[in-house]
C-alpha cells in the first residue's frame, strides 16, 4: 500500500452530514427509489446537533409532535435506515478530487466517492470567544453552547460553579438549562440588545424560577483569570464597565455555517448567511451540488432543517433524471439592518421557496417594519410586517412577487424601514 492509495466508488447521491437535514433528504430519496444514497458523518454517531440537546422541543414542525433532541436524532436515523439509505459515521469528507467527487477519511482508509448529486448538510457552529475578538487572558472555563452540551450531556464532565452566559436568544436559554443540570449557578445572561430574543414564557421561566438576571445593552469587554476564569468585565452602552465574578463563560449564538467543504469546492457563498448561495431548489452554483439545513441559514431550529431536507428531495430527483443545471440567476441581497435572507438566489418563473416565503434576520429590533423588494430601482413588493422583527429570530417575507422580477435584470434588493 502506498501512502496515498484510495478506493474509488460511485453512488447516486452522496449526503455529507447526518444531522436532521441530511438524514431527512436521504430518507426521502431512498424512499423514492434512488438506489445508492449514502450519508457520511464525521462524528462517531449520526444525528447532528440534536444528539447533545438533551431537552425537549424538537420535531414540532416536521413530525407534528414534540420530543427531546436525542430522541429526535434517533427518529431521523431510524427513518433514513428504514428507507434504505446507507449511513456511515466516523467518516470525514476532507475535500474534492473533481466536481461531485469527494475525498474521505475513515478508520477503514481513504476513499474517493463520485456521485451524480452531492448534498451538503454540514450545519453551523457558534463563533468562539476568539472570533468575537474578546480581549483578556486565555483561562480555562470558556465555552460555546455546543461544547458545553457535549461536555455535560454526552461526556458527563464537570464544568464550573458559576457562569455568565453571553447572549439571550433561544440557544442561550438551552445553555442555562444545561448549566443547571450540571449543578452550576448562572450569575447573569448578557446581551448587547435592549431585550432578550426568545419566547417570553421561556425567558420568564428562566428569570422567575431560576432567578437568572438579564443584563441588556452590554458587551463583554474582557476576560480575566490566569489558569481558570475569574471574571467577565462588561461594558454598558453608556461606557460604564463592571466585572462579574465567575469561573465559566458560555458564548452562545453568533452563528457561522460550517462551509469548509462548500468553500473548498469554490462554491459561491452568500455574503449575508456565509453559507453557499442557493435558490428555491437548494441548488448551489456548482452543477449537481445541493445544500440544505443550517449550512444555509445559521441558525434555524432542527425541524426547519429537516423540512429543508424533505423539500430538497424533489429537486435532487429532478437532477438525477438529467434536467439541466440552471440555478436561479438573480441574487437576492439585503441591506442593513437586515443581515441575511435565505434562499438568496431566485428564478422569476421558477418554483417558490418552501412554504412560499423567504427567511430573514435583522441585527436589531424593528417594530413592524415595512419590507421593500426592488430591482434596478423598480419596486416589486412593499408590505408591513405584522409584528416586530427581533434579532436572532426568523421572520418571513412572502414570495408572491418573484414572478415580477426580471430574469435579465440586476440583483433583487430587500430593505426594511
Amino acid at each position: 500500500m502506498t501512502p496515498t492509495d484510495r478506493t474509488h466508488r460511485t453512488v447516486d447521491v452522496l449526503v455529507v452530514g447526518a444531522g436532521p437535514a441530511g438524514l431527512a433528504v436521504a430518507a426521502r430519496l431512498a424512499a423514492a427509489g434512488v438506489d445508492r444514497v449514502e450519508v457520511l458523518d464525521r462524528e462517531q454517531r449520526a444525528g447532528g446537533i440534536p444528539r447533545h440537546c438533551d431537552h425537549t422541543g424538537f420535531g414540532l414542525r416536521d413530525l407534528r409532535r414534540v420530543m427531546t433532541g436525542p430522541d429526535y436524532a434517533r427518529h431521523h436515523i431510524a427513518a433514513a435506515i428504514r428507507a434504505g439509505a446507507v449511513l456511515r459515521t466516523g467518516v470525514t469528507a476532507t475535500g474534492w478530487a473533481a466536481p461531485r467527487t469527494v475525498d474521505v477519511t475513515g478508520p477503514t482508509g481513504l476513499e474517493r466517492i463520485t456521485a451524480t448529486a452531492v448534498v451538503l448538510a454540514t450545519g453551523a457552529r457558534e463563533r468562539p470567544r476568539s472570533a468575537r475578538l474578546v480581549p483578556g487572558t486565555r483561562p480555562a472555563g470558556v465555552f460555546t453552547t455546543g461544547q458545553l452540551q457535549q461536555a455535560v450531556h454526552v461526556h458527563h464532565q464537570s464544568v464550573g460553579r458559576r457562569a455568565v452566559i453571553v447572549g439571550a436568544e433561544r440557544v442561550s436559554y438551552s445553555a442555562v438549562a444545561t448549566l443547571r443540570r450540571a449543578g452550576a449557578e448562572v450569575a447573569a445572561m448578557v446581551t448587547d440588545q435592549p431585550r432578550h430574543q426568545t419566547h417570553p414564557a421561556r425567558h420568564l421561566g428562566t428569570r422567575l424560577r431560576h432567578g437568572v438576571p438579564l443584563v441588556t445593552g452590554a458587551t463583554v469587554a474582557e476576560l480575566t483569570g490566569r489558569v481558570r476564569l475569574e471574571s467577565v468585565r462588561l461594558r454598558h452602552r453608556d461606557g460604564r464597565t463592571a466585572a462579574i465574578g465567575c469561573d465559566t463563560v458560555v458564548f452562545t449564538g453568533d452563528w457561522i455555517p460550517d462551509h469548509e467543504l462548500a468553500r473548498s469546492a469554490g462554491i459561491a457563498l452568500d455574503p449575508g448567511t456565509r453559507g453557499p448561495a442557493t435558490d428555491a431548489e437548494f441548488r448551489t452554483g456548482e452543477p449537481g451540488v445541493f445544500a440544505v439545513g443550517n449550512l444555509l441559514h445559521p441558525v434555524e431550529t432542527a425541524d426547519i432543517a429537516a423540512l429543508d431536507g424533505r423539500f430538497a428531495a424533489a429537486p435532487v430527483l429532478r437532477h438525477l433524471t438529467g434536467v439541466p443545471w440552471t440555478p436561479g440567476p438573480l441574487p437576492v441581497r439585503v441591506e442593513a439592518p437586515l443581515l441575511w435572507i435565505s434562499p438568496n438566489r431566485l428564478t422569476p418563473d421558477g418554483p417558490r421557496p418552501p412554504h412560499g416565503r423567504f427567511t430573514l434576520r435583522t441585527e436589531r429590533f424593528l417594530t413592524r417594519p415595512v419590507l421593500t423588494v426592488s430591482q434596478d430601482g423598480r419596486t416589486l413588493h412593499r408590505g408591513r410586517l405584522p409584528h416586530t422583527a427581533a434579532p436572532n429570530r426568523p421572520f418571513h417575507l412572502p414570495a408572491d412577487w418573484i414572478a415580477g422580477a426580471d430574469a435579465h435584470g440586476g440583483p433583487v434588493r430587500i430593505t426594511a424601514d
Binding site: M1, P3, T4, E126, Q150
Partner: protein, 475 residues
Amino acid sequence: MTVTTTGDLPDEVYDVAIIGAGVVGTAIARELARYRLRIALVEASDDVGNGTSKANTAILHTGFDATPGTLEARLVREGYQRLTAYAAETGIPLEPLGALLVAWDGEQLAALPSLAEKAVRNGYHETAVLGTEAVYAREPHLGPGALGALEVPGESVICPWTTTLAYATQAVRAGVALHLNCPAGAITTGVDHHEIATPRGVLRTRHLVNAAGLYSDEINRRLGHEEFTVTPRRGQLIVFDKFARGLVDHILLPVPTALGKGVLVAPTVYGNVLLGPTAEDLDDKTATGSSAGGLASLREKGARILPELLEEEVTAVYAGLRAATEHGDFQIRADPGRRYVAVGGIRSTGLTASMAIAAHVAQLLVDCGLDPGPEREIESVRMPTIGEAFPRPYQRADLIAADPAYGTVVCHCERVTRGEIRDALTATVPPASLDGLRRRTRALAGRCQGFFCGAAVRAQFEAATAAQDRTEARR
C-alpha cells in the same frame, strides 16, 4: 529517561543544571546531552515551552537585518543554518516561503538599498529590490499603494512548539533529567557546587545555566550580577482562519523604522495567517492578555497590508512577552568563578538562534571549567507531522491501514486523529494540560475552538492521565 512532575528531586549532584525549559533552555540541554554529563533541566511550569517560546511569530530569521557585529547577529545567522538542518532531520514543520519587506512610502522605498547592503554585512547575499509590479505579481492581494519591496528568499516559517519539544525529547532520551513544576528559588553557591532551593527539595549542581527568559535578571541577581534588567515587551497577535492562507504566500515584513520592527502578516506552517505583533513595554511579567486597543490597532494595520484578510474569520488571539533589556544585544555572560552562565535578554530572535546559543553556552561552560569529555552520538528523534507542507496522518492510507486510529478524526477543524492524540499522551514528554496537548497535536486549535471536539478531546486526555496516575500509584 527521566521526566518528573511531582515528588522529591533525586539526591544527586548534577554536572550542569539549566533553569528554564523554553526553546533556549531545551536547546542547551540537548546540546550538552551530546556529552556524558549528568544534566538537570528544571522548569517552573508544568510543561516545556510554556513561556515566551509558545507565543511568538514563529519565523526562522536569516538575520539579514540584525545589527552587524553583535553577538545576536552571529547567533541568529548560525542558528538559522543549524535549525534548518535540524528541522529536516527531525520533521519540525518548516516552510521556506521568503519574505518581502514592503515599502508603502517614499522614505521606506529609499531605505531598501541600505537594508540590502546591511544584509550583505550580515553575510546574507540573496536579497533583491523589487519594483511595484514584481511585488504585486508575487502578492496579488496586497493592499493598494505598495511602491516596492526587498525580497529576502531565506526567511522561513517554523513550528515553535515542535522545535522546543524536539529538543526536550531528544535531551530526555539521551539522559537529561527534566523536572517540571520545579521553580528555582534561593541559590547558595559553594566552592564546588550550587544549592538551589525548590519546592521539591534542593537541587545540587556544579555548573549552573540561567535560561529563565523573562526572569533571567532575577536569577542573575541571586548570583550577584546586575548587568541587565528584563522589561517585558508585549506582542499581541491575531491568527486568521485557514481560508486566509490563499491570500498570502510570503512573510510580509514592514520596513523597519525607528519605532521597531512593526507588524507583519505571515502564513503559519499550520496553514493559517498571522497578523502582529504589537510592541508594548510593560512592567508585569505575567501580562500575556490581549487588549481591545491592541487588537484594534492590529486590524487597522492589517487592513492596509492585506485588506481581504479582515473579511476572514479569526481563529485565535494570543500575546507573548519578549525579554527586552536596556542593552541592544543578547546578554549571554559567563562567570567562571561561580561556574555560572547567564543567558538573558534573548529578545525577539531566540527561537531562530536557539541552537547557536546552545553551542555558544556549551563553549562558555568549558571556559568555566566544565570537562565535557568526548562527544558521543545521540539517538535522533522524529517528530509528529503537524505542519501542512507534508501529508498529515489523516491523509495517509499506509498509516491508517497499519492502525485505524489514524483514520478516526477527533478534532475536525484541524483533522487531528485519535491515534495522534494517543501518541502525544504517551510520548517521552507528555502534555500536562489540554493546552499542552493542543501544542503537540493541534487538537482544539482550529476554527471552532472546541465547539465540536472540545468535550471529546478532553475525555481522551482525562482517560489517559487517569490511567497514568493509576500506574504511578501502583509503582
